[in-house]
């Protein structure tokens, strides 16, 4: 078996570039997702976008346009339902995103010809990845890096201590909106390779692994994207050679790295990762 045989195919070269970039972006944004305990929002948003992706496939509308608008609409509805006060934001996310997901499944069943692309959205695919997707993911990556670079200290302050940040002149609401927007962009532009059902794991696992390896926020922001990119690369190779969806193999690679680091770092790492849910 020639490990690098798939590189002769243009679709694979596109796919692996997207997977590496997607892994790195998920790792980068995942740091904020994990530390702000936003993983449920990421999970919900990806399920919600599935409805838009299914509708786009059925109506032959551009994927990024259809799924993006759908995601934006869902986020606005979540905000509107949660603001009423009687329903918590977690329940609002549950209701709206699962409704959107169910609609995606219904469209999938009703319009059989769209089934193939809907499966690709659910579990990830490298077959549909073209030059446009490479540019789109590259753009999302550059945007994420620029935003984090420019707003680094304000984002850190708003993540670590929102109340004091607010008093100290940081516009916390704007920082939160910015993070939500970056999360939505990350999901939208990486879900083709990762798949809706598995992308939330990629938003959490590299960042949680990085948390076990360091006590510094700056180093965590460096380590998590590197882990994500490596998992994207190795996961794509594995996907080709064992003929399994790339979303699954990339997540399996990330989970393996997590387990190895979990074992090596011992009680210190376990304490760090256990503390992610505690304030």
């Amino acid at each position: 078996m020639n490990l690098f045989e798939p590189f002769q195919f243009a679709f694979f070269r596109n796919g692996i570039i997207v997977a590496v970039l997607a892994g790195a972006i998920c790792g980068l944004i995942g740091v904020y997702v994990v530390l702000r305990q936003m993983s449920y929002i990421g999970h919900g948003l990806s399920h919600s976008i599935f409805g838009g992706a299914a509708a786009s496939a059925v109506l032959s509308v551009n994927f990024y346009l259809g799924a993006g608008l759908w995601g934006l609409l869902s986020a606005l509805m979540i905000g509107r339902v949660a603001r009423r006060g009687k329903i918590g934001s977690d329940a609002a996310i549950g209701v709206i995103t699962t409704a959107s997901f169910a609609m995606g499944l219904a469209l999938s069943n009703l319009f059989g010809q769209a089934k193939r692309s809907i499966d690709a959205v659910l579990f990830g695919s490298i077959l549909g990845v073209g030059g446009t997707d490479v540019i789109a993911v590259l753009g999302a990556g550059v945007l994420s890096v620029v935003v984090i670079y420019a707003c680094y200290r304000h984002l850190l302050f708003a993540t670590f201590d929102p109340e004091v940040a607010n008093v100290s002149g940081v516009n916390v609401a704007r920082m939160e909106a910015l993070l939500m927007l970056m999360l939505a962009i990350t999901i939208l532009f990486t879900m083709k390779v990762m798949g809706v059902l598995l992308i939330s794991a990629m938003l959490v696992t590299p960042a949680a692994t990085a948390r076990m390896m360091t006590n510094s926020f700056a180093r965590m922001l460096t380590i998590a994207p590197i882990i994500g990119a490596l998992c994207g690369f190795t996961g794509m190779l594995l996907s080709y050679h064992i003929d399994v969806s790339p979303g699954a193999t990339i997540i399996l690679m990330a989970s393996t790295v997590f387990l190895v680091v979990f074992t090596i770092t011992g009680s210190r790492g376990r304490r760090n990762v256990a503390g992610l849910g505690h304030h």
Partner: protein, 253 residues
């Protein structure tokens, strides 16, 4: 009382509600430059709400809070609210309080020098690269004071600065705040610790939904005011020139 000091914050006829009954009712309070005020009262009396109104993180339901234009305020929250598992070092905590002069993540040479100075001032020299969980209780409290001081504030606001700390740390905090006050900084804090902290302050506000009394500890800490504030009889003793507040034997019998 007449005062020539300029007023930093003026709380004028403020009432506040979170949607239900009033948490604070018709409060008038002035915080002058260089003043040192302790707010005491039982749990749920509205102390933290009053701090948030002073800080501007809450808007009053009724009344107004006027802050001096361009007032630089720094806030030290209760240490119990800090996420000690957050991946952050001492220097990173201190550095975050001042907005960067240019948009870049890492500290400039002058910022690093400022952080070192404030850490040294608070006895934390050489601990900049430590994770915040790896410090003693007193050091942890001082890290958040260091973050506040790094802002070079006109007004320092602290919520329960001696809550959950040992006696030695409490002494350290009291001495440090006294030094800052002597250096001209205005300080406002809330506390449950009447004997360990409030009796050492120049001015105390007793709050329980209303402003019950405001003045020096000797004027304010009377059995009548304390009973109105805490809803239970309390005695005030004097020992070596210091006031000592205790539960009344009538209340415990």
């Amino acid at each position: 009382m007449t005062s020539t000091a300029r007023s930093l914050v003026e709380v004028d006829g403020v009432s506040h509600s979170y949607g239900g009954p009033l948490v604070l009712d018709h409060i008038h309070l002035s915080i002058d430059a260089g003043s040192f005020l302790g707010v005491i009262g039982p749990s749920g009396s509205g102390k933290t709400t009053l701090l948030r109104l002073i800080l501007g993180s809450l808007s009053p339901t009724i009344g107004t809070v006027n802050r001096e234009p361009n007032l630089r305020v720094a806030y030290v929250p209760q240490v119990e609210t800090v996420n000690w598992n957050f991946p952050i070092t001492v220097s990173e905590v201190v550095l975050m309080s001042r907005p960067p002069s240019i948009r870049r993540p890492w500290a400039t040479e002058s910022e690093r020098r400022d952080v070192s100075e404030v850490l040294e001032q608070l006895g934390l020299a050489g601990l900049g690269d430590r994770h915040i969980r790896e410090l003693s209780g007193g050091q942890q409290q001082r890290v958040f004071l260091a973050r506040a001081l790094h802002r070079k504030p006109d007004l320092l606001v602290l919520d329960e600065p001696t809550s959950g700390v040992d006696v030695r740390t409490r002494h350290e905090v009291v001495h440090l705040l006294t030094d800052l006050h002597r250096a001209g900084m205005a300080v406002v804090l809330t506390t449950h610790d009447i004997n360990g902290l409030a009796t050492h302050l120049p001015r105390i506000a007793c709050v329980n939904r209303e402003l019950i009394a405001l003045g020096s500890p000797r004027d304010v800490l009377t059995p009548q005011v304390l009973e109105r504030t805490y809803g239970a009889p309390m005695e005030v003793l004097e020992h070596g020139g210091l006031l000592l507040v205790t539960d009344s034997p009538m209340a415990t019998s």
